[in-house]
Symmetry: C2
Subunit: 387 residues, 2 copies
DNA sequence: ACTTCTCCTGCAAACCTTTGCAGCCAACGG
DNA sequence: CCGTTGGCTGCAAAGGTTTGCAGGAGAAGT
């Protein structure tokens, strides 16, 4: 029923190879012939069969994208950016969701391996060794993780966490808590490491809680424990948890930021909608998606090594393989969920407090029609964290 | 480098057809042979090449899912449900995002046509005739739309809209507004029709505004116009718009629900997090995803007869195929964004309102975080809608 | 012992496209 | 006039798998 290349060839009176070339190498065919072929193809509604093409070229023009949880608002901007970047190069992205399950991750890589040219592994929860092993089956680019020998794009959450902690200690907080994310997350380890270091440098204490599911529910559930730590400020693994935590604290009768300050990570769209608006670390998710696609495509676009003919095993020396690791900067976005700590509240005059907490008029007057205040001035699209 | 069926055949000393059968029709091969083959395959890390298989069988074991906007929280539950349902049957879902662009929809269908066995078209913005035409190219199941001759699964938003209007008029509201969604949306038309009818039946007036982008920004932008209608209660096309509208009303100094009631549609997770919590019409998104996959696969091949759930099912059997149209019920979830209207405020006690839905929180408690913050409202990410 | 069956396995065609190679023709240089 | 070049097109192999058909071996029936 579907028109094949043969039908077009018959209709336009040329050989199938000419039809093929009309599409894959137009400059090789006479303009007159080409037009005739195109007309016939159009008329017959012909579209090349990608499976057949993939079979012979060995390239599917598909890219797999494996993520932990589509429902996490962190991912959509990354997905969209990756999709549009891929589409520009005539590739298509296949998305798969692992539900935060490391075993599902492995299965998915296998399932995708033969029908994509490469896989973007976003915030994997697997072990490094397993990832390395899988990378022998299909080209891999990891996002939010560093695996030796594999191309990677990571967002510098460590730096973000440091900025967040410095912001909090700068406000006078001395008792901090870190609401940790899921086990197996590279991001989680980075945050913990950086936050610990920064807290120590500022002579503040830091209580680490976790691991926890990186969801709103995970945040709500930990409210009570957070209170028990006696911390006056909390850094959460991501915005979703931070928002959940604010919910939970609210039910406990604690006010944010008067009683306790909360900082998230990711800057998802939602973090502008909560009351109070969430102070958070913005991660360049869209850029990460674009970059990852670029790295994957460059990586296998250059190596046009054909399969060895004649049974001989052609061992292409891969030592030329450029496995870059790109690090994207993060940025602290100060909104309304952080305020002065107890240590400073007695010392600092009200004016100073007001300057930090934009509930009142911030220093740079935002005006009635939303001049972005210094904190929310980031032009980055809302995105969230993972890994 | 990747092991093929031929390698396995050589290693286990059988013909490739036997290897093939070991995987696709195990009962046809001697257990002893089978085990030997499986062992070799395992050892060589063999995985069947899906492209080659697709080429000959004509079935890719892939399903396309085209949606308007991944960033809209409405979709993830649907996607997840569809994915898990598909995975159970050894199918894989390929997701694509159209950015609310009807032209992109058409392109995507074409692009996917040859590499999937069928496409789930979720909340399409295309014309019916175009959809019919595309359905000749690849099996289609439409979600949130009715196209004659095509299998469809729709959520009964009409009924939901009616319940919402009855809820509002029951609270004493007489001046209603409907915040419409995007042009081309079947859902939008259904809502409008049902809301108009219900309002007339209750002797209330209904002002229809739109079309609008189905995003938070779309809601924010319409706040002023909504106020000008003089309505005391608003039904929005979806939750995102409702939430945006609440933002906008807030900036205008109007309190929800004391001054104006707001109802959304979809019941996205976010609607529980706003202050006040959003009253909304819950749509069974996950069930829709599952059902759509079932319909596509049953229609397509190995059918396992899943009985229709709560919804009604109309099967029109034309000559060859049975094209069912499944309708899924919706449900009104009363939270805090609706309160008594001016006409009834003197007459009806709040208890009467609460009686509409046991267990729902009483209206009129914005919660501790309900401080309005003028000038907050820009920078909405493009989000989207459901049909 | 001969047929008939049942089980299993091998053979080869077919799916649709790409691509190196060869051939054709016209034009051009010498 | 011949050799060469360049532009275009046809030929055929190849890619990995499925599957109808045929064949072989043994078992069961007679």
């Amino acid at each position: 029923m579907p028109a094949t290349i043969r039908d077009v060839a018959r209709a336009s009176g040329v050989h199938i190879s000419t039809v093929s070339r009309t599409f894959s190498a137009p400059h090789l065919v006479n303009p007159e012939t080409r037009n005739r072929v195109l007309a016939c193809a159009e008329h017959l509604g012909y579209r090349p069969n990608r499976a057949a093409r993939a079979l012979i070229t060995g390239r599917t023009h598909n890219i797999g994208l494996i993520i932990a949880d589509i429902a996490n608002p962190f991912f959509p901007p990354l997905i969209k950016a990756a999709e549009s970047q891929a589409r520009q190069r005539d590739y298509h992205i296949f998305i798969a969701d692992t539900n935060e399950d490391p075993a599902a991750e492995e299965d998915l890589v296998h399932a995708l391996a033969k029908q994509v040219d490469g896989v973007l592994l976003c915030s994997p929860r697997m072990s490094n060794s397993l990832i390395e092993q899988l990378s022998r089956e299909v080209p891999l680019v990891v996002i939010n993780r560093q695996v030796t020998g594999l191309p990677a794009v990571v967002m510098d959450v460590g730096q973000g966490a440091r900025l967040a902690v410095e912001h909090l200690t700068g406000l006078g907080h001395r008792e901090l808590a870190l609401l940790g994310g899921p086990r197996g997350s590279w991001t989680n380890r980075e945050i913990r490491r950086a936050a610990t270091t920064a807290a120590r440098a500022a002579d503040a204490s830091l209580t680490v809680l976790g691991p926890n599911p990186p969801t709103e529910g995970g945040g709500i559930a930990m409210a009570e424990q957070v209170r028990r730590t006696g911390a006056t400020a909390v850094l959460a693994y991501n915005d979703l948890m931070a928002i959940g935590l604010m919910e939970g604290l609210d039910s406990l009768g604690l006010r944010v930021p008067q009683d306790i300050s909360v900082v998230g990570i990711d800057d998802i769209a939602l973090s502008r909608l909560t009351r109070p608006k969430l102070t958070t670390v913005a991660t360049p998710t869209a850029a990460a998606g674009r970059t990852a696609v670029d790295m994957l495509l460059q990586h296998d676009g250059s190596s046009s090594a054909r399969a060895g003919r004649g049974g001989g095993r052609t061992t292409t020396t891969d030592d030329r393989r450029t496995t870059a690791q790109v690090t994207l900067q993060t940025e602290l976005v100060i909104r309304d969920s952080t305020g002065v700590g107890p240590a400073a509240s007695a010392v600092r005059p009200a004016a100073a407090a007001a300057a930090d907490r934009p509930g009142a008029a911030p220093p740079a007057d935002p005006g009635p029609h939303g001049h972005p205040d210094p904190g929310s001035a980031t032009a980055a699209t809302p995105e969230s964290v993972a890994s």
